[in-house]
C-alpha cells in the first residue's frame, strides 16, 4: 500500500460563544507517499482547521472531531495524548502561515532548532547544536554560524520561514503540512521557499500537504488538488484534471480570479463571501454566489459526481 494518510468523513465542530461552528463537514481525501496534495479555498472555508486536526492541534475541550484520520492504519482521533506526542514532529509536522509569530520571540533561532533535537532525540547540548547548525545550512541560511545566535526579530520573514521549515523537518517527518506557508511573504521570497520545499520533498521523499488560497502555488507544487468551500470538498482530482477540466463553478471562479488563470488578462472576482458555518446547510453552500445556480441547488445537498477516474466534484449543474 502506498497510501500514507487516509481521511474519511472527517467532521470538525467548534463550540463558540455564538454557537456550534461546523468548520469541516465530512471530508475525504488520501495522500500517497512522496506526493503533494494541495488544499485550496478562500479564507474561512475550513482548510486550516482540516489540516490542524491531522495533528490534533485544536483545543480539545472546545472541539469535536468525528470520522477517520488513518495514518498508516491507525486512527489519529483515537490516540492518547501521549501517543499523539510520538506522531507530532516525527511522523507529521507543520509550517504555519506567519513565521514572525511561529517562533519563540526570545530564544535564539539556533537554540530553537536544537531544542527539538534535545526534546525528541535526547541529544546532549553540544550534539544538538551541531545538528541545528547543519540544518540551518541545509535550508539555505547564511552565514549559519552567525544566524544561529540571532533572535527572530533580527531576521527577515523569508529567513524566519526557512528556520521554521528547518524545525519542521528536523525529525524527518513523513508528512509536512504547509499551512499558507508562503502567504505572509512577498513574491520573490515565496518562490525561494517553494523551491526549498520542492527540494526537500525530492531529497527526503516527504509527502506534502500544501494549504493555500493561491492557485499559482498549487500549480507549481501539487500532484492532486482538493478545492474546499464551506467545510466541504467541492472538487478533487489530479492537478492536471483540475486545471484543464475544472467541473465545479467554484473551481472555475477561483481559477479565473488568479492572474495566470484569468482569460483575456482580466481578473474576475467572486461576488459575496463564504457563508458562516453555524447551521448545517440544506442546499449547496456555494448557491448564493454561483453563476449557474438553479432552484434545486438550494433545496438539496449536491452529491459527489465522478468526472473521470479519481476526479470528483460536488455539483448538480456542471458545465
Amino acid at each position: 500500500m502506498n497510501t500514507l494518510l487516509k481521511v474519511s468523513n472527517l467532521k470538525v465542530d467548534f463550540m463558540t460563544v455564538r454557537g456550534i461552528v461546523h468548520a469541516v463537514q465530512g471530508v475525504d481525501f488520501s495522500l500517497n507517499r512522496g506526493k503533494t496534495l494541495g488544499i485550496v479555498g478562500e479564507s474561512g472555508c475550513g482548510k486550516s482547521v482540516l489540516v490542524k486536526s491531522i495533528l490534533r492541534l485544536h483545543e480539545e475541550q472546545k472541539t469535536r472531531c468525528s470520522g477517520n484520520i488513518l495514518f498508516e492504519g491507525h486512527n489519529i482521533l483515537d490516540l492518547s495524548p501521549r501517543e499523539m506526542l510520538a506522531i507530532r514532529g516525527v511522523r507529521a509536522s507543520m509550517i504555519f502561515q506567519d513565521p514572525m509569530i511561529s517562533l519563540n520571540p526570545i530564544l535564539k533561532i539556533g537554540e530553537q532548532i536544537a531544542e527539538t533535537f534535545r526534546a525528541r532525540r535526547s541529544m546532549t547540548k553540544g550534539q544538538a547544536a551541531e545538528e541545528a547548525l547543519r540544518l540551518l545550512k541545509r535550508v539555505g541560511i547564511t552565514p549559519a554560524e552567525e544566524r544561529y545566535h540571532q533572535y527572530p526579530f533580527e531576521l527577515s520573514g523569508g529567513m524566519l520561514q526557512r528556520v521554521v521549515i528547518a524545525i519542521a523537518i528536523s525529525l524527518e517527518p513523513e508528512i509536512l503540512i504547509a499551512d499558507e506557508a508562503t502567504t505572509a511573504l512577498d513574491m520573490t521570497v515565496q518562490k525561494e521557499i517553494l523551491d526549498l520545499l520542492k527540494w526537500l520533498r525530492k531529497e527526503k521523499g516527504m509527502s506534502l500537504i500544501v494549504v493555500t488560497h493561491d492557485f499559482g502555488v498549487v500549480a507549481e507544487m501539487c500532484d492532486s488538488i482538493a478545492v474546499m468551500y464551506a467545510g466541504k470538498i467541492m472538487e478533487y482530482g489530479s492537478a492536471r484534471q483540475i486545471f484543464n477540466d475544472p467541473c465545479h463553478p467554484y473551481t472555475r471562479a477561483l481559477i479565473s480570479s488568479t492572474p495566470s488563470g484569468a482569460k483575456g488578462g482580466k481578473l474576475i472576482s467572486i461576488p459575496g463571501a463564504p457563508p458562516e458555518l453555524y447551521e448545517p446547510q440544506t442546499g449547496c453552500a456555494f448557491y448564493p454566489r454561483c453563476s449557474q445556480a438553479a432552484e434545486r441547488c438550494r433545496e438539496s445537498l449536491p452529491a459527489m459526481h465522478s468526472a473521470s477516474g479519481n476526479h470528483v466534484f460536488r455539483c448538480e449543474r456542471p458545465q
Partner: protein, 291 residues
C-alpha cells in the same frame, strides 16, 4: 556582513547609575557588616547612651548605648536577606502553580484562583499575622508567612501571562513539533514571562522589606537581641522625643534601599525593551562611531 548587535544605548542612564551605585553600596555594606561595623551591634555601653554623632559613634548611640551604625549594618543584613527569602518562597510556590493554572485552565485554575481571591482580600500584613499566630513568632516564621502571603499575587501574574502566551502561534508550533506540555510550559512560555515576573519581584522585595519591618515593629518578626531595620524603628519610636535620629536612620535606610532597587529594576525593564531603551542623540552616536 558583520553581525549587528543591539548594543546602541545604555542601561546606565545617570539615574539608573546613581541608583545602582546606592543599592550596591547598601548591599556591600550590609553583606560585609562584620568587617565594616565599628562595634558589636549588641554591645551595651550605657555611658554613651543617646550620644549624638561623634568620632567614636558616627551615627550616635541608642538608648542603651549601642552603636547605631553597627546596628544599621547588621540590621540591614537581616532585613535584606529575609526579604530575598520571602520572594524566593513566593516564587517557588507561586510561579509553577501559576504556569500550570494558566496553561491548563479548567477546574484546577478556577479552584486555585478562587482560593487566591479569598487570600488577596486579606491584606498581606494581616495574613502574615494569622500565619505568624499559627507558626509562632520569629524570623523564620515571619519570612515563611510573608512568602506564603505573596504567593497569590505572583501566581496570579504568572497565570495571566501564561494564558496570554499559550494562545500565541509559537506555542501551537511547539505543540506541532511534539514537545511535551512540561517542556512547552517551562522552556517556551516561562522565558517569555520572566521579564514581567522579574519586575514584579523587585517591587516585591521592596514590599517585603517594609512588611517585615512592620512585623518586627509589632514584635512578631525577628526577636531581640537580633535586629533588623523594622526592629530599630520600633525601638527608636520609644525614644522619639529624646533622639529622633534613632527612627530616621533605619527609615532612611529602608527608603534608600527600596527606591534604588525600584529605579534599577525600572531601568532594566526599559533597557530590555528596544522601544523604551534610552538611546544616545544622533550627534553623540556619530561622534563615537568616528573615533
Amino acid at each position: 556582513m558583520s553581525r549587528r548587535k543591539n548594543n546602541v544605548g545604555t542601561l546606565f542612564t545617570p539615574t539608573v547609575l546613581a541608583a545602582s551605585v546606592v543599592f550596591l553600596l547598601i548591599l556591600f555594606c550590609t553583606v560585609c557588616a562584620g568587617l565594616l561595623a565599628p562595634y558589636d551591634p549588641e554591645a551595651i555601653d550605657l555611658s554613651s547612651a543617646f550620644s549624638g554623632p561623634s568620632p567614636e559613634h558616627l551615627f550616635g548611640a541608642d538608648n542603651i548605648g549601642r552603636d547605631v551604625l553597627s546596628r544599621l549594618l547588621y540590621g540591614g543584613r537581616t532585613s535584606i536577606t529575609n526579604a530575598l527569602l520571602v520572594v524566593l518562597v513566593s516564587v517557588l510556590g507561586g510561579v509553577p502553580l501559576g504556569l500550570l493554572c494558566g496553561y491548563y485552565g479548567g477546574w484546577l485554575d478556577s479552584l486555585v484562583m478562587r482560593v487566591w481571591d479569598v487570600i488577596l482580600s486579606i491584606p498581606a500584613l494581616l495574613f502574615g499575622f494569622i500565619l505568624v499566630a499559627m507558626l509562632g513568632r520569629g524570623s523564620a516564621a515571619s519570612v515563611l508567612a510573608l512568602g506564603i502571603a505573596y504567593i497569590p499575587m505572583i501566581s496570579r501574574l504568572a497565570r495571566n501571562l501564561t494564558s496570554v502566551e499559550k494562545t500565541k502561534t509559537y506555542v501551537t508550533a511547539a505543540k506541532s513539533f511534539g514537545f511535551s506540555d512540561a517542556r512547552i510550559i517551562f522552556r517556551q512560555i516561562l522565558p517569555n514571562c520572566t521579564s514581567t515576573l522579574f519586575a514584579e519581584l523587585t517591587v516585591d522585595i521592596g514590599y517585603a522589606i517594609i512588611t517585615l519591618a512592620s512585623l518586627s515593629y509589632l514584635g512578631l518578626g525577628v526577636q531581640p537581641p537580633t535586629s533588623d531595620w523594622g526592629m530599630m524603628l520600633q525601638e527608636g519610636l520609644v525614644n522619639l522625643r529624646q533622639m529622633p535620629f534613632l527612627v530616621v536612620a533605619p527609615g532612611i535606610a529602608i527608603v534608600l534601599t527600596i527606591v534604588s532597587l525600584n529605579i534599577v529594576s525600572d531601568g532594566i525593564q526599559a533597557y530590555l525593551d528596544p522601544e523604551q531603551r534610552k538611546l544616545p542623540s544622533f550627534r553623540r552616536y556619530e561622534k563615537k562611531k568616528h573615533k
